[in-house]
Point group: none
Chain length 204, copies 4
DNA sequence: AATGAATGAGGGTTCATTCAT
DNA sequence: TATGAATGAACCCTCATTCAT
């Protein structure tokens, strides 16, 4: 019942691929605006400009397309950030650039934020996969930085989840709720926090 | 639809109060288990042991009881943490105890976590109120600690949201997903991160 | 999933009982006219004069009401025949009266014939129950007649199914397809066949 | 909708004939397993190993292929029995062999039984044709036997339907439901019943 | 002949809410 | 207050059939 569900619904023609893609794009908008439960399959097909039945040529169910969407967007986010970060000189700068990139990404894809939030309850596998991948990437970075002596050693696992948690919540706060503060500034503040903690800089 | 229409449905008799209470308690379980959309009013009344129609004697709608629940639980969480933290010697210790308390709280009330997550989309007012209150409490603490020289000065606003974000995500990770690590240990790690940042402890 | 399905949908008030009854009666007409698959729940509620949703107050599904109907009608048919036969002087006369009663019954309830036919594939349990009960009744009669010496001894089981088979098929032929021959005449012919077989009456 | 519109879809090439045949064979399995309404055209084409659209190259509709199938199988059954019976020494022996053959046939083609049952409501013309042909064959046999003095005279029409009815029902009972009793034994019992009726063998 | 994508009417089912008692 | 029957809008999904290639 949860078996790989790669359903024999993969398009075999170029036309089919195009239609499937239109549906995915439409689903991003529909789910992003209304949330999973309020979204309607007919809303997706309407936005995609195809007939209702066409939906079921490519997806088994509303759940399935939602899952597909979560995976798809999770990849997009990760690769977008990775690209932006690739030429960072050191880990802390990379952290800062990554955070900034993440907030910008969310600002450009508000629907995505909502979609991933809901995924916890609707497409739990994809949801966990998303966070686990993100955290794993962070963890690898922290470890590498640790090995190079750029940061101290410690519980990289927990740290990576903690940093990701900041990013997510700040994404919500400063990308969803309130766009008045530039991403760079938020990223700067947080990076400083991560780097230096709260200690008085020159404690006596 | 999102306006907290303080309905004129407040019970006047003792019997009425009891019934309303049964409904609220039942709603916590129903919403916690199924989430807002999958939950059914009939499920709530069934758990409460009253007839379906009785629900509308006390609540205008499914949305209303959900809102009431979010506010109620948000208060419970805050006061539970406040109590646990009240006798902390200093801010950092308080931070650690608070984080630990928070994780414990989520472990004991998994439904609550889910309810607040969904509130973002279903009862946005109550949801923002929840996070804003939490962040404000943090902010006040940070500011006070700053004034006392216990921590350095900085953008307390952003910091408070960042720290809260860690807590939320770690709550998910180490209370929802995986309970194998003791809350105290997680709290310790994070507090250390907050306090000291990632800098090598004895840089040359 | 097939558990007794006595679903907690039993009406608790007199009004409820009346509504459930209206639905059953309407279902008899709808299923009889259109067959299970072509019949619509909305057709049933329309005929019953209630709202669509009311259906699901009393029945879990279209399948469930169909099953209920088969059982109900099977009982009706059996008791109708039993009543007609009760004062027969001997077994052969009873056979004849029973067959006649059966054909008359089918003529008055053409829908029922179709319903039971389809039940084989839609509500197999109820279907088997129907035929098994009928055959058991026949069998008991044959056995009793055998014990009294009214008929010879033999494989009552197979005989009872054979006789029932005649009745069913003749019901189809002379009640469904063609009503020109009076039931009594058909019953007479068959009884004679059952009683005497095909042997020349005065074989040399 | 029930008129056998001898469609202009008869294949002209050898390849076409082969494809049409594959579809018919696949339809037998699909309809036999699922029944008319649950069966899907796509199920048929899938089993046949052709594309969905190909179906409509050979058949006007789902109804049409079903009709074609009923006729085809009705012929098969009749000729199979006829063959088995052809060398019977007398009518009663022929009856017995025919009944035995029929039960064996149903045991080997359970799908066919279901298909013909459903035909009453889906392809009524073909259904009546089927039963009428069978009955006519019986009738001719009875008449001939009567003329020869092998059986007494009587209402051959009703008798033929009655005997056929036994066969059908016993087919269901001892071929579909329960295969534990050998066809020959059932045939024997019934033939005896037909031949001798229920009369005590040595009446005074 | 064969393919497979596209269509859309149709129907079963859910459930928040209302209402009569 | 409490009950539970009644309502009907809403929506997911199926699948026979058509059509462009």
């Amino acid at each position: 019942m949860n078996q790989v569900s790669s359903s024999n619904k993969i398009p075999k023609t170029a036309r089919g691929k195009r239609t499937r893609d239109k549906l995915l794009r439409a689903a991003e908008v529909e789910f992003g605006e209304k949330g999973f439960h309020e979204a309607a399959v007919s809303g997706i097909t309407y936005r995609a400009g195809v007939a209702l039945g066409t939906f079921y040529t490519y997806f088994e169910s509303k759940e399935e397309i939602f899952q597909a969407l979560v995976s798809f967007m999770s990849h997009r986010a990760r690769s977008w950030i990775a690209e932006r970060v690739s030429d960072a000189p050191d880990r802390l700068t990379a952290e800062q650039m990554g955070l900034e990139a993440y907030i910008e990404f969310v600002r450009q894809h508000k629907g995505i934020y909502r979609i991933i939030s809901e995924a916890e309850f609707v497409a739990n596998d994809a949801f966990r996969e998303h966070y686990t991948s993100f955290a794993a990437a962070y963890r690898a970075n922290l470890e590498e930085a640790g090995n190079r002596g750029q940061i101290r050693e410690g519980d990289y696992d927990t740290w990576s989840w903690a940093i990701m948690g900041m990013a997510v919540t700040l994404g919500m706060r400063y990308a969803e709720w309130d766009e008045s503060i530039p991403p760079a500034q938020i990223a700067q503040t947080i990076t400083d926090l991560i780097a230096n903690g709260l200690r008085p800089l020159k404690p006596k």
